[in-house]
Assembly symmetry: C2
Homo-oligomer: 365 residues x 2
Amino acid sequence: MPKPGPGLRLIDVAQRAGVSLATASRALAGRDGVSAEVASRVRQVSEELGYVANPYARTLAGGSSSTVGLIVHQVDDPYFSEIAGGVIQLADEQGLLVQICHSGRDPGNELRQIRNLIAQRVGIILVAGSGYGDPDVESEARTVLAGYQRGGGRVAVIGRHALGADAVLPDNEAGGQALGEHLLGLGHRRIALVAGTPELNTVIDRMAGVAAALRAYGLSLADVPVVHTDFVREGGRIATERILREHPDTTAIIALNDAMAMGVLAVLRERGIPVPDRMSVVGFDDVSVAGDLAPSLTTIRLPMTDMGRMALELALKPPTSRPRRRPTGQQLVIRDSTGPAPASPAPASPAPAGPVPNKRQASHP
Amino acid sequence: MPKPGPGLRLIDVAQRAGVSLATASRALAGRDGVSAEVASRVRQVSEELGYVANPYARTLAGGSSSTVGLIVHQVDDPYFSEIAGGVIQLADEQGLLVQICHSGRDPGNELRQIRNLIAQRVGIILVAGSGYGDPDVESEARTVLAGYQRGGGRVAVIGRHALGADAVLPDNEAGGQALGEHLLGLGHRRIALVAGTPELNTVIDRMAGVAAALRAYGLSLADVPVVHTDFVREGGRIATERILREHPDTTAIIALNDAMAMGVLAVLRERGIPVPDRMSVVGFDDVSVAGDLAPSLTTIRLPMTDMGRMALELALKPPTSRPRRRPTGQQLVIRDSTGPAPASPAPASPAPAGPVPNKRQASHP
DNA sequence: AGCGCTTTCGTAAGCGCTTTCGTAAGTCGG
DNA sequence: CCGACTTACGAAAGCGCTTACGAAAGCGCT
């Protein structure tokens, strides 16, 4: 294991400034008990020498850590990378460092990462995820985090309620409803729902919104095929194949996030099913590439970068007795992947499986 | 600043195992001087109690830090987030934590982040970037990192040579050449180059490859318009607008990364210029969405995730006297954004600026 | 002048760990 | 059966910092 360099110590600064170690420490920490004159002298010497406190020593002695741990499902998922970008942005402004961990979409793993970060004595833990499926893990996590908070640790969660911590939360239900209303308003009645794993509260809330929209049109979730798969691109692919097979008359697909919507679009493209002429598709999140997809994706915009910032802001504030909730805006962005429902009902036969009529086949390797 | 919790201490484990602090430390560190019997007893107790060493104390005492610092331009840029994903993956397997910093594409900032990480005494520094424009900053960074390495720190860079450290490096020149040959082979002769800022060595190398391809066809870089802009999506937009204005007869655009290529495609779409029928476009990197773009993008595939892993692997190995270079594969992926050069020369008049003939206008907000 | 009070600063005690050093056993040849 | 080694472990000295705590000095008050 590599060793960090030696580096300037506080005592060097103190000596150079002609004061004791303790005084130098106080001066740099900005606490009182030091005359203004001495304080500024110390600060100046420190500046000149380019002194930076050893964070390990500082944390060990003072018990205060300046690093924030961020747990995401996967950092190369655009949804999470944008959140991470926001966190890092603000952390940098505040002179904090950010530890990123992957939970890999696995609750057990997420719990392990939380434990790990606590053991690492980070001062702040941010959990960006979609909630637990497993209630045991859920309550265990809540317990662990409660202990951590009792010990002075700060916690905020992003995109989920629960865990007894401050939360930055979009109105997933309103978003789902907007999506449903948009499609229903375009005349679609044979809508399929590509949902993530059914335990994620994100999925539950977004589905509830869709259900509300359906209800307004005299329909219910029972009337639409709902396919639960992984909350990622591949999940969208699998779900779409199943929908095309089992419900070939579908005219619109709601994917509960953009990642799955990308999988949906990919399958439709491969099958040569024109979007939106024969099938409308919507996503959720508005990841930055959503507007560049083929076709550009109608979706609900979530301010991921801001969400990251807000979560860290929340965690940085003095804690309150009750967990705070901070809403984020969400907004329907209409692009090219949605259009009016086809006038004539779609053919009852499944889409052709052979070579497709469209211009050129993607060489998706 | 939040305080990390108290937590189990090594002495607790030692007492429970009926040995001294020192013996427990040795046992858990796996060094010899401890009988096998005692060692296993200590390990078992530690396991049972769920003991995790306080990394701050450990680092302070032993001088060894188990966190790796990763500097990227911007973590929500897919190129970098995929690299980060690879680093985090391997780090997690190895029980290391990852600190992520943004350089924001600014060499001065990058240097600042390096200094910061060194001050934070991380054990490993990974720099993913494209090299410095400013030679002063470059040599300063090299000096700082050399001192860090002398002190036992490990350094590896990703996607650039230089800095006197181990490097994971794609053959950017070969990639550029493959791109050029692909387009030239399709009959394109009026090719424009959307390059990033001219100081990045990534840009220089990729351009050199393109130049080599041109040479084989009796052309040179002097014959093609080269637009240097920011190495991001917006840069691609700006460059494309300029190319369309100043060189309306262009039939193919080479963007030196996918981010810029996305900007190129966006402008072409807005202007209603069909790709690839009237204009072919290629990118470089093959970020994960490249195949889902409108149209899907012909590009050079780089194994970003592996590059992240490899860089950390390199840094974890015992250092060598000379910096190592580890090549990464790169491979042309042909998709829908390239096609034969239009038979008739493009019209000399600029593309229509008004409403476009294609199906529907993106509502890019 | 003498008292308590505040302000300013130094001394020293850790934070939890690694590691050097010393010591009590055990090993061995003679 | 004894000195010279080896082996297994404990005591203690830090790593660089923060933060009680206490001493010294300056202040107004009686």
